[in-house]
């Protein structure tokens, strides 16, 4: 029982920390919350669950418009009126319903054909999306010790929350929280995230880019991009940098941790590198790209022979 006035903001933070600690101690079965999410998604309509085939089937179920005018009514008078209207306008309704059904059927057929072509295209190109999905799920360890000190130094003094996308097993995240930063991680691979959670770290199991897009504008004091910068195709990478610029507060720090191209695909990143379309940028490329997106003071640091760290400042408005 609490005996004095409680700072409810601190209390909320304490509760969140307590839950993380309980997760780390194994008090919550791993996957318990994910199972709840999955169970709800099972019952949600396909339009919500983003399943193309299910959405198409649903559209096909709805494609035929019922031409029969409903005439049932609680009021006898209204029932008569409805029947009269039905008699008078029935032919017109049928005519309209036939046209709408024909249009819907044509659109649906076109969609199905388009879906088929996309699948064919995926097969021809080696089903990039599927391979990429497998690649994104494949645990790929990176040796955070190569860049931990550089990242901590680059973020020292940052105020506000620091997001680490992706945090992997949490070694870098632990170094950041150990340095007194208010850091949390995002990691899409649940099996890897569970290792970080077991260290008592604050980790959201989510796609890194999706998480960044959901964060409020200028809400972050610092942002570390790790892992996904090597995997992401160029277009996605540019979108990620756009999002980083929008979500960092003016004066916030962006830090990119990346393997060099020659080290990418060796050892523990081999499977990932084989399966995804992206590849690490050359360190100098960040010097060209980041100033275009509102970053200044771009600095590249070598992190051993096979990796580098880029640090940059989000310019004031």
């Amino acid at each position: 029982m609490t005996d004095e006035y409680v700072d409810i903001h601190k209390l909320a933070a304490e509760i969140e920390a307590e839950v993380r600690a309980r997760r780390a101690a194994g008090e919550y079965p791993p996957g318990f919350e994910r199972e709840l999410d999955r169970l709800f998604d099972r019952f949600a309509p396909p339009e919500v669950s983003n399943d193309f085939d299910a959405a198409l089937e649903r559209a096909e179920d709805l494609v035929i418009v019922d031409p029969v005018i409903p005439v049932a009514s609680n009021s006898p008078v209204l029932g008569v009126v409805k029947r009269v209207v039905s008699k008078l306008l029935g032919w017109y309704h049928v005519w309209l319903a036939q046209q709408i059904s024909a249009l819907s059927t044509a659109i649906n057929t076109a969609l199905r054909l388009l879906g088929g072509r996309v699948v064919e295209l995926e097969h021809i190109t080696g089903d990039v999306a599927r391979a990429r999905g497998v690649g994104a799920r494949t645990p790929a360890r990176r040796d955070d010790s190569a860049w931990n000190d550089i990242v901590v130094a680059a973020l020292r003094g940052v105020s506000g929350r620091v997001a680490v996308l992706e945090c992997g097993e949490g070694a870098l995240l632990e170094a950041l929280t150990g340095a007194g930063l208010d850091a949390y991680g995002v990691e899409p691979r649940a099996i890897v995230a569970d290792v970080a959670l077991a260290r008592g770290l604050e980790v959201r199991i989510d796609d890194g880019a999706a998480h960044l897009h959901a964060v409020g504008a200028a809400a972050l004091g610092g942002l570390v991009l790790r892992g996904l910068v090597e995997r992401a195709p160029l277009g996605e990478l540019l979108l990620l940098i756009d999002a980083a610029s929008a979500k960092l507060a003016p004066g916030g720090r962006l830090v990119v941790c990346s393997l060099r191209r020659e080290a990418w695909g060796d050892n523990e990143t081999a499977a990932e590198a084989d399966l995804v379309a992206g590849r690490p940028l050359h360190p100098d490329t960040w010097n060209a790209v980041l100033p275009e997106q509102g970053f200044v003071d771009v600095q590249v640091h070598a992190a051993g022979a096979g990796a580098y760290v880029v640090a940059a400042l989000r310019a004031d408005e």
Partner: protein, 348 residues
């Protein structure tokens, strides 16, 4: 001054009650005021409102109560008196498409009408700063914030006899809707039952039981084996609502989108402590009167509820803070502010 209000449908609910209260407050301030709607729910047929077709007299200012696209919006745009839009928020499409395709049309229509109203209106009045942002994005150049007008004493209703409490009782009040995320409350409740209190009960009070989201929610609850532990009441009378507040140990909000959230005020008034996810207008309405969480994963919400329910002093602090906070929304404060805002638009 003559100030008439227009509202798409006059029906029981936050917007309907606010509309009638605005009329009464305007009249009490010496103005002439009537309410016009395209539809009037039969249960409120005796509230003195008129159908849209009867809106023939000219006003000095007209107030449009905006919450969805409607022919009433077009009727307002067709008039030449100064317009004040009282904006109650349009639910973002992402929470509607997939669940309520028909309602999606009304929301899209509403967004288009709001942009058009921005070009014609003297003033946009939002019931929260969050909603004010919506007005500014739609193009309103002059805006202000006045909370929903509520007669707090209307919450003083003798509770209907209810079932005996069954363990710790969670409560949420609001239409069953994806943006109100009752499914996240159920997830948190499942975690609470598993890790904290296996005898707990959850009451989800509010209409919309016939909608697709509600059916999904019911299947979800069934699949979790919580049929006996979760009650979806549907719409209830004022006395039944008071009974639910009287029986509640905690009011839990996991909404992702709320334009104001009147049930927070009801909960404060009924001295029920609040645990809420800090999204959209919820932090603004709640102030310091509840435990606000930055995340709503089931285990965190469950742990927060456990703390609030189990810590008598904390509970007392939250209840007292709520009792103070709700007074900020007392009609004696909000009524004059609303009248001042609306009448100021006439002379500009």
């Amino acid at each position: 001054m003559i100030v008439h209000q227009f509202v798409p449908t006059l029906e029981p609910g936050a917007v309907g009650a606010h509309t009638l209260m605005v009329r009464d407050v305007l009249r009490a301030a010496g103005h002439t005021s009537e309410v016009f709607a395209s539809e009037i729910e039969p249960v409120w047929a005796d509230r003195g409102a008129h159908l849209l077709r009867d809106a023939r007299t000219r006003a000095d200012v007209i107030v449009y109560q905006m919450a969805i696209g409607s022919i009433v919006g077009d009727a307002v745009l067709a008039r030449d008196e100064p317009i004040v839009v009282n904006h109650h928020n349009l639910t973002p499409m992402r929470y509607i498409t997939g669940w309520q395709p028909v309602a999606a049309h009304g929301v899209a229509w509403g967004r288009a009408q709001l942009r058009e109203l921005a070009t014609r209106s003297r003033l946009g009045v939002a019931d929260s700063s969050y909603n004010e942002q919506d007005l500014m994005e739609a193009g309103f150049t002059r805006t202000t914030v006045v909370p929903i007008l509520l007669d707090l004493t209307s919450f003083d209703v003798t509770p209907a006899p209810g079932p005996a409490p069954r363990g710790v009782t969670w409560l949420f009040v609001g239409r069953l809707a994806p943006n109100k995320a009752q499914h996240d409350i159920v997830k948190a409740f499942a975690a609470y039952r598993q890790f904290h209190n296996a005898d707990a009960h959850l009451n989800l009070v509010g209409g919309g039981r016939e909608d697709g989201y509600a059916r999904t929610l019911q299947r979800f609850i069934h699949a979790l084996g919580l049929d006996d532990a979760v009650t979806i009441t549907g719409s209830v009378s004022d006395a039944q609502l008071a009974a639910h507040y009287a029986a509640a140990d905690v009011f839990v909000v996991c909404s992702e989108h709320e334009g104001f959230c009147v049930p927070l005020l009801e909960s404060m008034y009924h001295r029920v402590p609040i645990v809420a996810y800090a999204a959209t207008a919820v932090p603004e309405t709640l102030g310091e009167a509840g435990l606000l969480l930055d995340v709503k994963d089931p285990c965190t919400v469950a742990a927060a509820v456990d703390r609030v329910v189990g810590d008598t002093a904390l509970r007392h602090q939250l209840v007292e803070a709520g009792a103070r906070r709700v007074q900020d929304f007392d009609l004696s404060r909000t009524g004059p502010a609303f009248v001042e805002a609306v009448t100021s638009a006439a002379g500009n």
